[in-house]
C-alpha cells in the first residue's frame, strides 16, 4: 500500500516534469514513430530478399518487433532515465540524500524517473504483437499466450536485475558512468531471432547479456516451441537473478559508505 502510494507520487512528479517539457515530448513521439517506420522498412527490405529469417516469417518478426519494443520501453522509460539520474547523483553527491531516505534505496533508484509518455509505446508493442501473430497465421492457444506473457515478464526481470548489478558496480568504480551502454548496445540484438546469430553471439545474448531471454524466448513460447521444464527454468532464473541483484546492490551501498574497505 505504502509502495503504491510512493509509486503514484513518483508518477505524478514525472508527469509534471514531462508537462514542463511539452514540446520535447511531442518531438520525441515523432522520433519514435520515425524509428518504428524505419524498423518496418528494414523488415520490408529483408523480406523483399527472402521468405524466412532464421526459420521465422515476416509476421513472426513483426510480433518479435513488438516484444522487442516492450523490452525497449522498459529500457527507455525506466532504465535510461534512472541511470542518468543515478550517475548524476553519484557525481554531485546527491546520492547521499537518496541513501538517507527511509525507503529501500533500490526502489528509489528504480522509480525516481519515469519517462511517462513512453508508455504509449506499450500500446504500439501490443498492436505489433497482435498484427504479427495474425499475419503468421498461427493457431495460438490460451496457455501459449499466458506463458508468453509470463516469460516476457521473467525476461524483463532478468534484464532489470542485470541493470541493478551494472549500476551497483559504479559504487566500486566511480568513473563507470557508461554502465548501461552494454545493455543498451546488445538490446538491438533483440530485434531479430537469436537463431540467426553465430553461436558465440547467441551465447552472449542468451547467457551473458540475456536480451534474447526477454525477446526470442517469449515468442518461442507463443509458438509453442518450449517445454514445461524450460519454462520453469526461466522462471527460476529470474527469481535467482533478482535476489542476487539486490544482494549486490546492498554490497555496493556498503562499499559507498566505506563499510567494506
Amino acid at each position: 500500500m505504502q509502495t503504491l502510494k510512493l509509486l503514484s507520487a513518483f508518477f505524478k512528479m514525472n508527469v509534471q516534469m514531462s508537462l514542463a517539457y511539452r514540446a520535447d515530448t511531442v518531438v520525441n513521439i515523432l522520433l519514435n514513430i520515425m524509428w518504428l517506420g524505419w524498423e518496418l522498412l528494414s523488415l520490408n527490405i529483408i523480406f523483399s530478399n527472402t521468405e524466412t529469417l532464421g526459420g521465422w516469417g515476416l509476421g513472426e518478426l513483426i510480433a518479435l518487433l513488438g516484444v522487442f519494443r516492450l523490452v525497449n520501453t522498459l529500457m527507455i522509460a525506466l532504465i535510461w532515465p534512472n541511470t542518468e539520474k543515478f550517475n548524476q547523483s553519484i557525481r554531485d553527491g546527491s546520492m547521499d540524500y537518496t541513501i538517507l531516505q527511509p525507503v529501500n534505496s533500490m526502489f528509489l533508484v528504480t522509480f525516481s524517473r519515469i519517462t511517462v509518455w513512453r508508455f504509449w509505446d506499450l500500446i504500439l508493442a501490443v498492436i505489433l504483437i497482435v498484427v504479427g501473430i495474425n499475419m503468421a497465421d498461427q493457431v495460438t492457444s490460451a496457455p501459449q499466450v499466458l506463458t508468453f506473457i509470463l516469460l516476457a515478464i521473467t525476461g524483463m526481470i532478468i534484464i532489470y536485475s542485470l541493470w541493478i548489478v551494472l549500476i551497483a558496480l559504479t559504487f566500486w568504480f566511480v568513473k563507470f558512468d557508461n554502465n548501461v551502454t552494454i545493455l543498451q548496445a546488445l538490446l538491438d540484438a533483440g530485434r531479430y531471432p537469436a537463431t540467426v546469430y553465430p553461436v558465440w553471439l547467441r551465447i552472449i545474448v542468451t547467457f551473458i547479456i540475456p536480451i534474447a531471454v526477454a525477446t526470442t524466448v517469449p515468442l518461442q513460447a507463443l509458438r509453442g516451441e518450449l517445454e514445461a521444464p524450460q519454462i520453469l527454468t526461466f522462471i527460476l532464473v529470474s527469481i535467482v537473478s533478482f535476489f542476487l541483484a539486490s544482494r549486490i546492490w546492498k554490497a555496493g551501498l556498503k562499499q559507498y559508505s566505506g563499510a567494506s574497505s
Binding site: 505524478k12 512528479m13 538517507l100 531516505q101
Partner: protein, 325 residues
C-alpha cells in the same frame, strides 16, 4: 537521560588513489594505482544533549563533513562508536532516518525542473507523513521562512537564497529530532545568512530539536551556538562554551590600513604584519583585542591614513593559529 548524540573514539581513514599528471603516469596509473591513507577523523569523543545547538568548526579538510556523514549514517567509521537517539547511524534503520535530517549547503535534493511544492509532496510520501501533520508542519515552516511565494516556481528559477530556504524546508518536513547541517549558509549574502540563522534559532526553540552545524562564517556560530566543537587535522581540539573560546583563541583583531601616500611606512612597529592576497591595496596588522583602541588612535595620529578597518580574523586563521603552535 542519555545524551542525544554520543560519539566515542570515532575514526575514519580514507584510501585515496594517488595520481600524477602526464601521459606515462596515466598509463602507469591504469595498471597499478597507488594509494595513500588519509586520516580524516581520529578518535573523536563528544556528547550532545537534547535541544543543544552546537557549532562544529575547523578549517577546510579538518574532518567536519566526514564526521557529519558518519553521524547521519552515510559513512561507516573505520573505528569507534556513535549513538544518536539510541540508534547506530550507519545501520540506516528507516526509523532512524525518519528522525534525522542532513542538509548540505552545496547539494540539491530538490529536482530542478519542477516547483518545490511537488518535491515536497514526494517527500511526504517517502517519509510517510500523514496529511494533517504535513499541513501543520508546512504552515509552520511557511511562517518562519515565507515559502509560499517560492513554491510554484521551478526550482531552477529561484535565487540561491530562495533555493536554500526550500532545501532546508524540504529537509524538515518530517520534523526530525536531530539536524545535521553542513554549511547551511554557504554562498548566501549577509541578509540571507541572517534569515537562515534566525530560522534555525526559532525552530530549535519551538521544537527542541538538536542541531549540529558546521560553518565557515564565525557569525553563524556566534549567533546560534553556546557551545562549539573544534576539530583540526581530524582531532578534537576544543569542546566547550563559545565565550571561553573567544577568550582563548580569538583575542586578536585585524586592522586594515590604506595609506594616502605610498606604502613606504613601516607598520610592523604597531603590530604583526599579516598577508592578505585578496585585498592588496591595504596592509593588515594583527593586534591584541585590548590594544585595538590604543593602536588605532596611534595610527591615525602618526600616519596619513586614507581608510581604516577593524575586523575579526577569519575563522580558519584563528583556529590555525591557536592550535598549530
Amino acid at each position: 537521560m542519555s545524551p542525544t548524540i554520543h560519539v566515542q573514539q570515532l575514526s575514519k581513514t580514507y584510501k585515496v588513489p594517488e595520481r600524477e599528471g602526464g601521459f606515462s603516469a596515466a598509463v602507469r596509473g591504469f595498471f597499478k594505482r597507488k594509494y595513500k591513507e588519509v586520516k580524516a577523523v581520529q578518535q573523536v569523543d563528544f556528547k550532545i544533549e537534547q535541544g543543544e545547538i552546537v557549532g562544529f568548526l575547523g578549517p577546510n579538510g579538518a574532518g567536519k563533513t566526514t564526521t557529519l556523514k558518519m553521524l547521519s549514517g552515510l559513512l561507516h567509521p573505520t573505528d569507534g562508536k556513535a549513538d544518536v537517539l539510541g540508534f547506530t547511524p550507519w545501520d540506516l534503520k528507516p526509523e532512524y532516518l525518519r528522525a534525522i535530517t542532513l542538509v548540505m549547503g552545496q547539494r540539491n535534493r530538490l529536482s530542478w525542473d519542477i516547483p518545490a511544492a511537488d518535491s515536497f509532496l514526494l517527500n511526504q510520501a517517502i517519509y510517510r507523513i500523514p496529511d494533517d501533520e504535513y499541513k501543520a508542519t508546512y504552515k509552520e515552516l511557511d511562517e518562519l521562512l515565507e515559502l509560499e511565494p517560492l513554491m510554484k516556481k521551478p526550482v531552477r528559477n529561484l535565487s540561491l537564497g530562495e533555493r536554500m530556504k526550500c532545501e532546508i524546508a524540504a529537509g524538515l518536513l518530517h520534523r526530525p529530532k536531530v539536524l545535521f547541517l553542513d554549511e547551511p549558509t554557504i554562498g548566501l549574502d549577509i541578509t540571507g545568512q541572517a534569515r537562515i540563522r534566525e530560522f534555525l534559532r526559532e525552530y530549535n526553540k519551538r521544537t527542541g530539536a538538536t542541531i549540529l552545524l558546521t560553518s565557515h562564517y564565525m557569525a553563524d556560530v556566534t549567533a546560534l551556538c553556546e557551545r562549539i566543537i573544534i576539530i583540526h587535522h581530524g582531532q578534537l581540539k576544543y569542546d566547550g562554551g563559545i565565550n571561553l573560546l573567544s577568550k582563548k583563541i580569538a583575542p586578536f583583531k585585524l586592522i586594515g590600513v590604506m595609506l594616502a601616500e605610498s606604502n613606504s611606512h613601516d607598520l610592523s612597529k604597531y603590530g604583526e604584519l599579516v598577508q592578505n592576497e585578496e585585498d592588496w591595496d591595504k596592509q593588515y596588522i594583527q593586534v591584541k583585542a585590548e590594544d585595538v583602541t590604543r593602536i588605532t588612535s596611534r595610527l591615525l595620529a602618526d600616519l596619513p591614513i586614507h581608510d581604516i578597518t577593524i575586523a575579526d580574523p577569519p575563522i580558519e586563521d584563528v583556529i590555525e593559529q591557536a592550535f598549530n603552535s
